[in-house]
């Protein structure tokens, strides 16, 4: 793989960066939070992003997509990550959308993806239980056979954008043991299904999420993407791809947080000089720069590995997530420290990034989890 951007990719990156700079400053996120906005993002802006072709990047042209890959998608997500844009990229595109696309279920794709690509449909993935931690194969939803179909019962936590999703993809155990890939089924459940209760959750980083309760929600076998019992591998691969996308968001966030910090170091005066002259801070700033450069390479390589259907997809996803998790947290922790007292105030934006860094670190596995996985994949 070549670790460089094509001219087309550079153009996407620039367009996205300009868009975020002009249309999606952090002030927008703050205003949505302060207003207690029931949607939590801007449907108009989401529609604009769809019109720009970003929402459809990874989807087939026949469904209204651009049939491009993570190499392109990560550029957009990185730019959005700079402004902590709350639009539902992670839930609708990276998780549920990619899951549909890669399931090969043409009927389901034809039903949902055109609406996704046009910016009209929001999808969400419900796969985690309260005690699943980072286990992908341990949902807290059980599917019990009933007639030709199944009844879904259980709970899914922190379902991203679940509160406004038009449909959920619910991971449920149809057979086998928790922790096993086999016996997992992925059911598409429309939001108005009987027995489905969705309650919005409030997270420290203001990312939109919902608690989903299922009580005997009736689904048919044909609602299962990749078939009954056959969803485990698809779910894992999709989460690996979404992890790489999330890493791009983290990369954007850490870069913006670092830029804010550098600006502060160059303007804040103490002891009759700007604090950026102090070597104690310079060296730490250099270290943060190093971590960001390393993160860029990891994300770039992981996106290309995913696009090439590299057999090492899992390893690359873990590589990028371990790197970006530690880098984002370190950059934002240091940022708050270097801002000093004002870094602790809600008025300053840097706190938003520190909260998001922690939230992304604890999504799809932290660095220790991914090192553990790397070791297991390496046979030790």
């Amino acid at each position: 793989m070549d670790l460089m951007q094509s001219e087309d990719q550079e153009l996407i990156a620039k367009t996205a960066a300009d868009f975020v700079g002009e249309r999606s400053p952090i002030a927008r996120v703050r205003a949505l939070r302060d207003a207690g906005d029931p949607v939590g993002f801007s449907r108009e802006l989401w529609k604009e992003m769809a019109d720009l072709g970003w929402v459809g990047i990874p989807f087939a042209e026949v469904h209204g997509g651009a049939d491009l890959g993570l190499a392109e998608l990560t550029l957009v997500v990185e730019a959005l990550g700079r402004g902590l844009a709350p639009e539902p990229f992670l839930s609708t595109v990276l998780l549920a959308g990619q899951l549909l696309q890669r399931s090969g279920d043409e009927a389901a794709c034809a039903k949902w993806l055109p609406g996704v690509c046009s910016g009209d449909t929001i999808l969400a993935l419900a796969y985690q239980g309260a005690t699943s931690r980072y286990e992908v194969f341990s949902p807290a939803v059980v599917a019990t056979a009933k007639g030709d179909g199944f009844l879904l019962t259980g709970q899914a936590i922190q379902v991203l954008d679940g509160h406004v999703a038009d449909a959920l993809i619910v991971s449920a155990r149809t057979s086998g043991e928790q922790g096993e890939a086999s016996g997992l089924s992925l059911f598409v459940v429309p939001k108005d299904a009987s027995g489905l209760e969705i309650v919005r959750q409030s997270r420290v980083d203001d990312r939109n999420a919902a608690l989903v309760q299922l009580s005997d929600v009736a689904v048919s076998a044909s609602d299962a993407l990749a078939g009954i019992d056959g969803g485990g591998q698809l779910l894992q691969e999709t989460i690996d791809r979404a992890t790489i996308g999330l890493c791009a968001e983290m990369l954007g966030g850490m870069q913006h947080a670092f830029e804010l910090t550098l600006e502060h170091l160059k303007t804040r005066e103490q002891f009759e000089t700007v604090i950026g002259t102090f070597q104690a801070l310079k060296h730490r700033a250099a270290d943060l720069f190093i971590e960001i450069e390393l993160s860029k390479s990891a994300v770039m390589a992981a996106a290309r590995a995913a696009d090439g259907d590299d057999v090492e997809l899992a390893r690359y996803a873990s590589l990028a997530k371990a790197q970006c998790s530690e880098a984002y947290v370190r950059v934002t922790n240091e940022a708050v420290q270097m801002f000093g007292g004002v870094g602790m105030t809600d008025e300053y934006d840097i706190g938003f990034y520190m909260k998001r860094a922690r939230a992304t670190e604890l999504t799809f596995g932290d660095a220790a989890y991914h090192r553990d996985r790397w070791a297991a994949l390496g046979g030790y």
Binding site: M4, L262, G276, Q279, K282, A286, A375, G378, Y380
Partner: protein, 398 residues
């Protein structure tokens, strides 16, 4: 390049025909290899023959122009050559600071005469070079160097002391920074000068290191005559040349550590040999060590990818990006952590210095660990490198 496949096939068969069989698989690494020079004594006739043949073919300096003894290869061709050398198992025919430091600098700043004079001798392994930068009073503050070169018309008289001159006791020529204008601002009175080590007045004393070896020397100059025709670039403009050479040195250091594991036995396999209760496969019984090994492998990989990103950008004709400024710091710190991890893996068996009860690899590991502590000091300390990043890349004020 006309046809990569043809070049590859051609190169493969040339290597197979010309590299003596006795050398195959003796890849060497680090400082093991053919350094050449007047004082060089080949370990075998085959070693001498391999140098001679490779030099005649231009393969000791593959990308240098042919008129200076190089191979005239493009970067792509050189990459293929390197791949083929690895595949066939040939050792590098020649290593040393002539190829990695002064050579590239001469190509950039030397006159035609200087290039013809020095580069060819480097490629044939006839002259071995050493570096005269640091002084007892000029370490991280390199521009504070005091070795004087007094103007005597067509030559200088040089007086002073250089320190940390690697292998000065085996070198034939030195590239040195000397002060030619004591009144100018410290960066502006420095000249980059080449001096033959056989010139009367030069004496060398090796320095014993904590690792037990003496790769560095202190080199004294007393009334040493050096011709002005051996000034590189311009008088008093040596700092410019010095910085360019440091760039070559730092990228060389980073490259040396970037590979990490390479073909060596994996860290996990080493750990299995030392951990009680470890099976031939499956999870290592020590969960902390397992995490540390994974972290080392992953950090090494991410660093390798970052170097690749810089190379790919360079291939596409882009200027070196900000990423290249981090290589020296990251590469050396990863190597230090790696050496420490190897000590942790081996446990008490990592403590051998010499003699009975320790494997050769364990004894080498001890020395490698100690030697690695110098990685973040030599060639610009990690602190100096961080200052450079803060100032040049991040724009933080002095």
């Amino acid at each position: 390049m006309s046809d990569p496949q043809a070049f590859q096939a051609e190169t493969r068969s040339w290597l197979e025909e010309n590299c003596p069989k006795s050398l195959l698989g003796k890849g060497g690494g680090g400082i093991v290899g053919t350094w050449g020079g007047r004082k060089w004594k080949p370990e075998s006739e085959d070693q001498r023959l391999w140098l001679e043949r490779a030099a005649a073919k231009g393969f000791t300096a593959p990308t240098w122009p042919k008129e200076y003894g190089g191979g005239g290869l493009s970067k792509e061709e050189a990459k293929i050559l390197a791949q083929e050398m690895r595949a066939v198992g040939t050792p590098p025919p020649l290593i040393g600071f002539g190829l990695t430091m002064i050579g590239p600098t001469l190509l950039q700043y030397g006159t035609e005469e200087q290039k013809l004079e020095h580069l060819t001798k480097i490629t044939r392994g006839e002259i071995r070079w050493c570096q005269g930068y640091s002084e007892p009073g000029a370490g991280s503050d390199l521009a504070g160097l005091q070795m004087r070169a007094d103007d005597k018309g067509d030559h200088y008289i040089v007086n002073g002391t250089k320190v940390w001159t690697s292998y000065a006791d085996e070198a034939d020529w030195i590239f040195a920074l000397v002060r030619t204008d004591p009144k100018a601002k410290k960066q502006e009175g420095i000249t980059f000068l080449l001096i033959d080590m056989e010139t009367p007045g030069i004496s060398v004393s090796p320095i014993l290191l904590i690792s037990g070896s003496s790769p560095f020397c202190e080199t004294h100059f007393q009334d040493v005559k050096a011709l002005k025709s051996n000034v590189i670039f311009k008088e008093h403009a040596g700092w410019t040349v010095a910085k360019a050479l440091l760039g070559h040195e730092r990228s060389m250091v980073a490259e040396a550590f970037g590979g990490g594991g390479g073909s060596r036995r994996s860290l996990a396999d080493r750990a299995r040999a030392y951990l009680p209760g470890a099976d031939a496969e499956g999870p290592l019984p020590d969960a902390t060590l397992r995490q540390d090994i994974a972290r080392m492998e992953m950090d090494t990989r991410v660093f390798g990818l970052t170097m690749q990103r810089a190379r790919d950008a360079a291939k596409a004709g882009q200027q070196p990006g900000a990423e290249s400024s981090i290589f020296k710091v990251v590469g050396t710190e990863i190597n230090q952590r790696r050496q420490e991890l190897l000590m942790h893996i081996a446990g008490p068996q990592a403590l051998g210095w010499e003699g009975e009860g320790f494997a050769e690899e364990e004894l080498q590991g001890t020395r490698d660990w100690l030697r690695s502590r110098g990685n973040t000091i030599e060639g610009g300390t990690s602190e100096v490198q961080r200052n450079i990043i803060a100032k040049r890349v991040l724009g933080l004020p002095d």
